[in-house]
Symmetry: C2
Subunit: 202 residues, 2 copies
């Protein structure tokens, strides 16, 4: 492949990536004006990564973690954002996202296609510390937004505290220093009735 | 400072950062639906950084470059996005952004405030290879969007080819492998009349 052809492929991929800015999530901006999109959500995760990395345990390849975060939602260009608590959507999510990964990452030159695919596979597998950190950020960020907007997207659902704590489990694994914060937020939104009570102690 | 107080400050900063998603730029999404905001623009730069880094010359601390990119527009939360070709706005930009940096970065614990301020100062000074790379991406990304949307934000202004080439100069410095692409795009949009002719050869 000539250098010009390689650069053309890279730019075609970067142009296609623009579509992630039009993928709406279920979380609203803190000003309530609209739903967040997956591109700005991803930027927010990268900022969380820089500011909160001290709360991980063990060593972390921060560059690798940022690379994983940067590409983790690109499959949504084709597959859309599947809401965390949408059971039907979750059952078809893997197949839809695999096909999206083939097409979207396939725009890149083969070596970069494989590299980015590897980043995304690593994110999905949640085995490495970097992937666990990235997944923790991906769960924590909407919790922070909800916590600072009177419940945010939680208000649209009849969720229990256990639903949210299960959803947040990757935070305990990838960013354990933030787990007490998660528990405190979930407890407060249980107390105020946004999250329903279904703890074993009730 | 206790660990809890430190974490509170970090989260307050991350919550404040949400406002960058409401700062509109002059560039439109490729689907033409709306103006791009500075948060999703920043994510796009980070993706460009990962895909195009091979086109730099010399060695580059990619993590440092990504950190610089991640925070480079946060001052716009207070100062707004100053359009590149707005001469009056450019004259007051530095003072407005300095004040914004004091306030926004000042939400962080002192060590992180100083660290993030250092990243932003480095971006603005454009001396290190990482800052030059970040600035190159920041200029290149709207050019790519304009090139793939029939001229995009250039259509709103009576710009010459020289105006755009001057604006793009940081690409020649920080991402020289992309400079021929910049020249080709500017030439094509000169030929089709979107950019006015004012080259010395005319």
């Amino acid at each position: 492949m000539t250098n010009a052809a390689r650069l053309d492929q890279q730019i075609r991929f970067l142009v296609e990536a623009d579509k992630l800015k039009a993928v709406a999530r279920r979380t609203r901006l803190l000003d309530g004006s609209r739903f967040e999109n997956s591109a700005e959500h991803t930027w927010h995760l990268m900022l969380l990564a820089l500011i909160l990395r001290e709360h991980t345990t063990g060593s972390l390849d921060v560059l690798r973690a940022l690379e994983i975060v940067a590409v983790h939602d690109l499959v949504e260009i084709d597959a859309g954002d599947t809401f965390a608590y949408d059971t039907a959507g979750q059952s078809t999510k893997a197949a839809r996202e695999e096909a999206a990964a083939d097409r979207v990452f396939g725009l890149l030159p083969p070596d970069q296609r494989d590299y980015v695919r590897g980043l995304w596979d690593e994110f999905e597998a949640r085995v490495t510390p970097e992937a666990q950190f990235a997944n923790a950020l991906d769960r924590l960020q909407p919790l922070i937004l909800n916590a600072h907007s009177s419940g945010g997207s939680w208000l649209d659902q009849a969720l229990t505290r256990d639903d949210v704590l299960r959803r947040m489990a990757p935070v305990a694994q990838g960013l354990p220093g933030l787990w007490p914060t998660v528990e405190r937020v979930v407890e407060a939104f249980g107390q105020n009735g946004v999250l329903k009570g279904s703890r074993s102690t009730e």
